[in-house]
Symmetry: C2
């Protein structure tokens, strides 16, 4: 497995291949299977069935070598597979930055959504290639694949922001996103499952 | 003139048109004419002659509405016109971040260079569409157009990093970049002009 560069980092070039959704030289990669998304889908039985089945890969994240430490500006590309669990569209776990700082997502392929929640208000940005979603400091964020093909996006974020996944388990994301016959719909959270 | 968004900013979408080199909705724009680049080209006479002539626009910067304040993550697109002054390729003023933080440049059109200087070492990254240049914390940075057409690049930078242009006037950038019959060359600074 590739690892992050040691600091201090010397200036260097990263080849960003939007078509292939890769950053090169590569840094660490991670793969989230259905079993990694425990407690996030409303329909726990459907989730368990998927885990007990082929436990599919829901999304992958490929980082550049720039490390997630204060003062650096790392980047990563996330690719979410198309699919639903109990009707809910496949998504990332979602997280809050414990050190509140802004972040940008740039959609590269497919169609997706950027769901943001500050504990009170919910905001949605539909993402298609060329859309930058701006995530202000203090807003938890999750990506959702709303299409029938993989959805990829580039993230750029301050290295000292951190990732708090438990915030989402505790507070939810305000809305859930379901597939409908003609598209998708957002529904109130209706309790944490 | 467009202005930055007031904080706290609500989540929003920015349309990033790489072909047109625009961010929409637009934030502030700035235009740097030759007269704004005083003290930066080695050949001061050639610079003065250009200023006294049509004082051309050397580069333009178009920002998104995300403001340059701590915890936000603003973006801008810079477009440098092709040209030389005393043989030196047209370039941005260059700056250091007084609050040392990393930054990325993504080349969009044309060919350019990213010159970085930490006061001791000089680094050069040749930029073509798809190249991300990583500027580590503590490295002053300048963009140069090395081609015959406009060179555009997207910058993403922490809003609290700041811009110190005087640092470059005081320390230089380590190298100067000149047009040659077949391309470009880097030469030692040879004293500040």
């Amino acid at each position: 497995m590739q690892s992050y560069a040691a600091t201090p980092i010397a200036p260097f070039a990263i080849q960003f291949d939007a078509a292939a959704a890769t950053l090169s030289p590569p840094g660490p990669t991670l793969e989230r299977r259905m079993s990694d998304l425990e407690g996030l889908f409303a329909d726990r039985d459907a989730w368990q069935k998927a885990v007990d089945g082929d436990n599919p890969v829901v999304y992958r994240v490929q980082s550049s070598p720039v490390p997630e430490i204060d003062r650096e500006l790392p980047q990563s590309i996330t690719t979410i597979e198309p699919g639903t669990t109990g009707g809910e569209l496949w998504m990332t776990k979602g997280h809050q930055h414990p050190n509140y700082q802004g972040e940008i997502y740039l959609a590269l392929h497919g169609t997706g959504g950027l769901l943001m929640f500050d504990g009170d208000r919910v905001e949605w940005v539909t993402m298609a290639p060329g859309t930058i979603g701006y995530i202000p400091p203090g807003w938890a964020h999750r990506s959702i694949n709303i299409g029938d093909e993989p959805y990829s996006m580039l993230a750029v974020y301050p290295g000292g922001a951190g990732h708090d996944y438990n915030w989402v388990l505790e507070h939810g994301m305000g809305n859930r996103v379901y597939k409908t016959p003609n598209g998708f719909e957002l529904r109130p959270y209706g309790g944490l499952s």
